[in-house]
């Protein structure tokens, strides 16, 4: 399964998007667009990604730009996987 699809699955699970998960695409905005994405949800998302992909995300890797869209988040994960 490609990384973006896995990231969408994590988003759907962590944010409980239910049916809305299917409508997520690379250009879907996240931060600022999804009201569910408060600080507790951001933390759950980081943990969810770590568990799903088996890596650890350092604090200094985290900034707002990674959460701009589904696509930017998927790119972040892809970069981490090739490290």
């Amino acid at each position: 399964m490609i990384v973006q699809q896995q990231v969408i699955e994590v988003l759907g699970t962590v944010l409980n998007l239910g049916n809305r998960t299917a409508s997520l695409a690379a250009d879907t905005p996240l931060l600022g667009a999804l009201p569910e994405l408060d600080s507790m949800a951001v933390v759950s998302l980081l943990t969810g990604l770590e568990e799903r992909f088996g890596f650890a995300i350092d604090d200094d890797e985290v900034d707002g730009t990674m959460f701009a869209t589904v696509g930017t988040l998927a790119q972040f994960v892809e970069r981490k996987l090739t490290q």
Binding site: L31, V42, V43, L46, T47
Partner: protein
């Protein structure tokens, strides 16, 4: 109709608020609630209250304490050390009728207190709701509210290394409006929800997820293994619903309540 009573329990370091839901007639036994940590406790309050009323209606006496520094209990959150909460819960267990069944009902981080609670009543049954089994992970996630908080507009970020260094120097830290003393952080980081005694009662583990299932998620499967390796038989169930301890909109999961009642009222052969 069952009734709810509230009172303040005196302790050596101030009073503790206690809420008891009693059934009509003789209780089947007692259920003692071990609540989640910080904001998860706030967000799950309504669901916990709903569940307690339903358990009482199903014949159980339910004891729900506010731990030191939480809710209506005495003390500042910033003065709490981990052992305070362990002692609070042990004190509640001491009030349970020793001649009747006892269920330890833990939601999320409340599970971290279960091994200590079992030491007091080794015959108790355990009902875990989407438990946090690793206190170090709970601490890390809590610190992340501050280190990743600025992303979600929750104030300036301070990285976890800095926060941990502060704690190690003996300084309290402030995260998401909660003051955390070193003694609370250290105790939490060392806590694990893995059994230390031989199994005498039942263990029921219920996760909440997108679909109902008898199969746990890979993460939970790993954590269940730790129990099984300790020789415990754990009855697992995933119930469909929202993570009500985390959602911004107050959510409920009735299915979790009805499935739990089915489990605790089940007569085993």
């Amino acid at each position: 109709m069952n009734s709810a009573r509230a009172w303040f329990e005196p302790t050596p370091d101030g009073s503790r608020f206690m809420l008891a839901h009693d059934p009509v007639g003789e209780p089947r036994g007692t259920i003692v609630y071990a609540p989640p940590f910080a904001e998860e406790m706030n967000r799950s309050r309504r669901m916990a209250a709903m569940a307690a009323r339903a358990f009482a209606q199903a014949g159980w006496r339910v004891l729900m304490p506010d731990l030191r520094g939480c809710g209506d209990s005495a003390g500042d959150h910033g003065d709490v050390v981990w052992i305070d909460w362990v002692e609070d819960l042990r004190r509640v267990i001491a009030q349970a009728d020793p001649s009747r069944p006892l269920w330890l009902w833990a939601l999320r981080g409340g599970a971290l207190f279960v091994p200590a609670m079992l030491e007091q009543r080794p015959d108790a049954h355990v009902l875990l709701w989407h438990p946090v089994v690793d206190g170090q992970q709970q601490l890390q996630q809590f610190l992340r509210l501050k280190s990743a908080g600025s992303v979600a507009g929750a104030g300036e970020s301070v990285d976890r290394k800095t926060l941990l260094a502060q704690l190690e120097r003996g300084e309290s830290i402030e995260v998401a409006g909660y003051t955390l003393a070193p003694g609370l952080a250290l105790g939490m980081a060392a806590a694990r929800c893995t059994p230390r005694l031989k199994q005498l009662g039942r263990a029921v583990w219920m996760d909440v997820g997108a679909t109902s299932s008898v199969e746990p998620s890979p993460g939970t499967a790993m954590r269940l293994n730790a129990w099984r390796e300790a020789g415990w038989r754990v009855e697992f169930e995933m119930v469909e619903g929202l993570p009500f301890w985390q959602t911004q909109e107050i959510a409920e999961c009735e299915a979790l309540i009805t499935h739990s009642i089915h489990q605790i009222n089940r007569e085993l052969p």
